[in-house]
């Protein structure tokens, strides 16, 4: 893909347009090299380099946010508002995930590798969102997948290995499906660039077109964890460590949803198939099945895993109406950001007490720590979409966009699903909030106290949780400012 480097005039400028991505790459390479020459107990340096690269990347992306949309490297790499949002959110989320993972990774012999892989996955995610060409989309899919396979099984324990295997097999299968889809679209039109596809696809043969649409959507749906290619989500989330689960369920989703958004706006906009309806059905299935499956979960990670599946459903509502209403892009921008923050916060709550896997264990472990419970309540109610959190604004915007795009039935379904989701989030909130009261009211029952003593509390996740809770409230209240910055006009 990077063939034109150097040879063409202005290639330097084009490379400069990719400064945020280059910074991430630089951070990954630099971190890897630094890690090789750094003793085990000073590995925090690598972490600092990686976090600094993420922040610098986000800053570089923020600087060029208001610029007019451009396409670089033979129009394969699109830099516009959508890319800008994804660049910022992914880079910052990756930084948060690195910090979040620091507690469980500290002292680990392969700590550097984990941090570098997280950066590379983030780079792949941004590439997904920025792809203006089917081949780049495939390459980005691989770059956003392969580091994650390694991360999923990073602990090298039995559940992690099983999770990785499942993740890898499913990823490989969907990857093939996606390539078949891309091949079909190339067969139908003879091109891979989105702008040409947009003009040629409306005349393409229906069978090839259908195969292509299904394949490509399967690919982005897999990265997003949408139904029906979501089966890896609960197993990977529950099999890996909480910090890695936070990364895997947050970062690739952002790029995948943005990639789906771009596909619907550009190449698939004028096709004779009702692609928006297909996406709407995917959205409906994701939110419904995700919620239904989450109902009876007692493992906090599995509960959150299914919750992320249902959240993808709401995100895909904005994708379904992409290009059909002006509200779609702001809706996507605010929901993606809010989801990333809130989801990281919820997983941070799990990572704070890594030994507590069930809801009751978690409540017992957090019992003494009132502020952790408060922040968890904010994050979980945030995922429900309770005002004034960011996801609430996102939900309002997504609902308005979907209705405006002619999908009123989906809005009603999403509202019903939101109520349903409240039920299982409350299953976690109620014992957690109750656990706070038991010691405050009684104090003398030694039974729960002895349970608490054995638990370790990790600092970095607790800090992350509090920051996420505050950030989701701040973004909810300041959503107007955020939207004015990322979606000007």
């Amino acid at each position: 893909m990077n063939a034109p480097m150097g040879g063409m005039t202005g290639a330097g400028e084009e490379a400069l347009a990719l400064l945020p991505e280059l910074l991430l790459l630089l951070g990954a390479v630099g971190g890897l090299l630094l890690g090789l020459w750094t003793p085990q107990h000073r590995q925090w340096r690598v972490r600092a380099v990686v976090v600094a690269a993420c922040v610098a990347s986000a800053a570089a992306a923020a600087v060029v946010l208001g610029d007019p949309p451009t396409r670089v490297f033979e129009e394969t790499w699109v830099i516009d508002g959508t890319t800008g949002i994804v660049r910022i959110v992914v880079a910052l989320s990756a930084a948060v995930a690195v910090v979040l993972a620091s507690s469980s990774l500290a002292g680990h012999p392969r700590e550097t590798e984990a941090n570098v892989l997280m950066l590379l996955g983030a780079l792949g995610t941004i590439a997904l969102a920025a792809s203006g060409d089917l081949l780049l989309l495939v390459a980005a899919y691989l770059l956003a997948s392969i580091p994650l396979y390694a991360l999923a099984g990073f602990a090298k324990d039995a559940p992690g290995t099983e999770a990785t295997l499942k993740y890898y097999l499913m990823g490989a299968f969907v990857g093939v499906l996606m390539m078949v889809g891309v091949t079909s679209l190339v067969l139908a039109t003879g091109t891979t660039g989105y702008p040409e596809l947009a003009t040629l696809l409306p005349q393409a043969p229906a069978a090839l077109l259908a195969m292509g649409v299904i394949g490509v959507l399967a690919g982005v749906g897999f990265k997003a964890g949408a139904v029906p290619v979501h089966f890896w989500v609960p197993d990977v989330t529950a099999g890996t460590t909480p910090a890695m689960a936070a990364y895997i369920t947050t970062i690739p989703k952002i790029g995948a949803v943005a990639a789906a958004f771009r596909l619907l706006v550009e190449p698939l906009a004028g096709v004779p198939l009702d692609v928006p309806l297909l996406v709407a059905v995917i959205a409906a299935l994701s939110m419904t099945l995700g919620n239904l499956a989450a109902f009876n979960q007692t493992d906090v990670l599995r509960l959150l895993a299914y919750s992320t599946v249902s959240q993808v459903g709401y995100l895909f509502m904005a994708v379904a109406v992409a290009g059909r209403t002006d509200l779609a892009l702001p809706a996507l921008a605010i929901y993606l950001t809010g989801y990333a923050i809130t989801n990281l916060g919820a997983f941070a709550a799990v990572a704070a007490f890594p030994e507590a896997r069930s809801i009751t264990d978690w409540a017992a472990a957090a019992g003494r720590n009132r502020w952790v419970v408060v922040s968890l309540v904010v994050c979980l109610l945030g995922l429900v979409g309770t005002p004034p959190t960011a996801v609430f604004v996102g939900k309002v915007a997504v609902f308005a966009a979907a209705w405006d795009g002619g999908l009123a039935w989906l809005v009603v379904l999403a509202a019903v699903n939101t109520v349903a989701s409240l039920f299982y989030y409350l299953r976690w909130i109620a014992p957690a909030a109750g656990g706070r009261e038991a010691p405050a009211g009684g104090g003398m029952d030694g039974g729960s106290a002895t349970v608490v003593v054995g638990r370790s509390v990790r600092t970095a996740p607790v800090v992350t949780l509090h920051l996420a809770a505050v950030a989701t409230l701040v973004l909810g209240v300041g959503s107007g400012l955020w939207l004015a910055v990322v979606v000007p006009g």
Partner: protein, 539 residues
């Protein structure tokens, strides 16, 4: 600016309470009282300076203390708050009732720091809902009241508090999402694509598509009906009330139910006038069914608190009857419709004061005997004459005796509605008879006859326990109420209403009487806004 301070002051006090650990025990309650009192003083100042104007004003113009800041320009949602004749009485009611609950909580502090912070948070949410002039802002505060009340019931309730709280949360959350869908419908249906209530009321959306307007009204009506609550969406109410703490019940019935009825007056009527006119008869019918259903089911209750809860359904039914009648433009003249609206608004204030007092008094029963069952109590007039007197006053006020606020309200509702919906009004009047009967029966059971007080060992209502943060005697699991319920003690053992309890209940009843004797003070504020609503509906 002043209004912003009024809305956010309780929240700031809550943050202070949580941030300063030294404010534990009774000090937390005193901070709460001080914050609520200061807030009420500010509302009183606002009322003093408020000029209701002449003729029909408010709703779409002449809004006092208005603040309009951009918040989410993409969907034109803003921080738009203001006060008119619809919201000012309810803001004042919120201030009064929360102060009463603060004073009440001096009685037996139970984890007072968290409790005070939660109630102050709830107060901000309630004030914000009444002050909001933007649909999204309204929804934000509206939803926060649900969250706050969930934790009040789950954390401080008794018996099946967890389950009732969950039921409350799920039911009202369903309602609030229906409301949200309706709001989005209004947004998309409006010409200028805005969530601003004033702009929407000035230029109503969806006027050219009756079907869409009807569906949007259905969504909004559903959301508000759950909150109000109207038959058949009232089933969460008795459970929530029965298991909530006394102060929580008082707020739930006194303020939170008003959020529903207020939503009808503030949003449904002025913004969807066509649809409201078209479906006004349905509103009237639902109102009358609620009146009768609430009254008859209340009559059958064996639990004091459940009975009071069902009378709330009954009283909110009157409000809907009045508001529905205000929409029957073809059948009634402007004056009658205005009177019906005024009555509905007056009923909100009157019901808030009286039901708040009734629920606080039922809390006296719980603290003395850990049960609300009618058959556990009897002849309380002898050991507790003050309690008996207060209960009698509150009950007579609630059944609509002349001299109380409810009488003014119900009289105006019936007067205004009679012309437009005579059959419905006559049916609703029979509801008054049933309520009168049930309150008299309740008084008779509780206050007369041989004295019976359930024995629960110690009198946990005493405040010399100096409980501080730990109040073991008030743990919800304590003292199996059902086991002790039937053991009667022919004792004179009930401690009468005293100290903070008096300080909380008496002002509410005094206000209810004052509003019954001198209605002008409130009517002067309400009437112009009610006239404006009646005019806007008739468009």
């Amino acid at each position: 600016m002043l209004l912003t301070v009024v809305v956010l002051l309780p929240l700031a006090a809550a943050a202070l309470l949580l941030a300063v650990p030294a404010l534990a025990g009774r000090a937390a309650i005193w901070v709460w009282i001080a914050a609520s009192a200061a807030d009420l003083a500010l509302v009183a100042w606002m009322w003093w300076r408020y000029d209701p104007g002449q003729g029909a004003t408010g709703v779409v113009g002449n809004l006092a203390y208005e603040v309009d800041l951009r918040w989410i320009p993409t969907v034109d949602a803003g921080y738009h708050i203001g006060v008119d004749g619809l919201s000012l009485p309810l803001l004042a009611l919120t201030g009064v009732l929360f102060l009463a609950c603060a004073v009440w909580s001096l009685r037996e502090p139970d984890r007072p720091r968290a409790q005070a912070a939660l109630f102050l948070f709830l107060q901000t949410a309630c004030l914000g809902t009444f002050a909001a002039l933007d649909l999204i802002l309204f929804f934000v505060f509206f939803d926060l009241t649900i969250v706050g009340m969930y934790f009040v019931i789950a954390g401080w309730g008794h018996d099946h508090a967890r389950r009732s709280a969950l039921k409350f949360f799920l039911y009202t959350f369903v309602g609030s999402l229906a409301l949200l869908v309706g709001f989005i419908g209004l947004f998309l249906g409006s010409e200028e694509r805005t969530f601003d209530m004033v702009a929407l009321a000035a230029n109503p959306p969806l006027t050219d598509s009756p079907l869409a307007a009807g569906l949007v009204l259905l969504a909004i009506g559903l959301g508000l009906a759950v909150k109000t609550p109207l038959f058949p969406f009232h089933t969460w109410l008795p459970d929530a009330h029965t298991d909530a703490p006394a102060a929580g019940s008082a707020i739930l019935a006194g303020i939170l139910l008003k959020l529903g009825t207020y939503g009808f007056v503030r949003i449904a009527m002025p913004i969807l006038p066509d649809a409201w006119q078209r479906w006004a008869m349905v509103v009237v019918v639902v109102g009358v069914i609620s009146v009768l259903w609430g009254a008859f089911v209340a009559l059958a209750q064996t639990n004091v608190k459940r009975m009071i809860a069902y009378t709330s359904v009954n009283h909110m039914g009157y409000v809907l009857l009045g508001l529905g009648a205000a929409g029957l433009v073809g059948q009634a003249d402007a004056e009658a419709r205005t009177i019906a609206t005024v009555g509905a608004l007056y009923q909100m204030v009157g019901h808030g004061l009286l039901t708040g007092a009734l629920f606080l008094l039922s809390g006296v029963l719980w603290s003395r005997g850990r049960t609300y069952a009618f058959d556990s109590w009897g002849g309380l007039a002898r050991p507790a004459p003050v309690f008996a007197a207060l209960l009698a006053v509150a009950a007579f006020g609630s059944l609509g005796l002349p001299g109380f606020a409810s009488f003014i309200a119900e009289f105006q509702i019936f007067t205004g509605a009679l012309q437009a919906a005579p059959v419905a009004t006559v049916l609703a009047v029979t509801g008054i008879l049933v309520t009168a009967g049930l309150f008299l029966v309740a008084l008779q059971r509780l206050l007369t006859g041989p004295t019976a007080v359930p024995s629960v060992g110690e009198d946990s209502g005493s405040d010399d326990g100096d409980a501080g943060d730990v109040a073991p005697s008030s743990r919800p699991t304590e003292g199996g109420a059902t086991a002790t319920a039937l053991r009667r003690r022919p004792a004179t053992g009930m401690r009468d209403v005293h100290g903070p309890e008096l300080g909380a209940v008496v002002p509410l009843l005094v206000l209810a009487v004052l509003l019954g004797l001198f209605p002008r003070a409130l009517l002067d504020v309400i009437e112009p806004a009610a006239a404006a609503v009646a005019q806007l509906v008739a468009r």
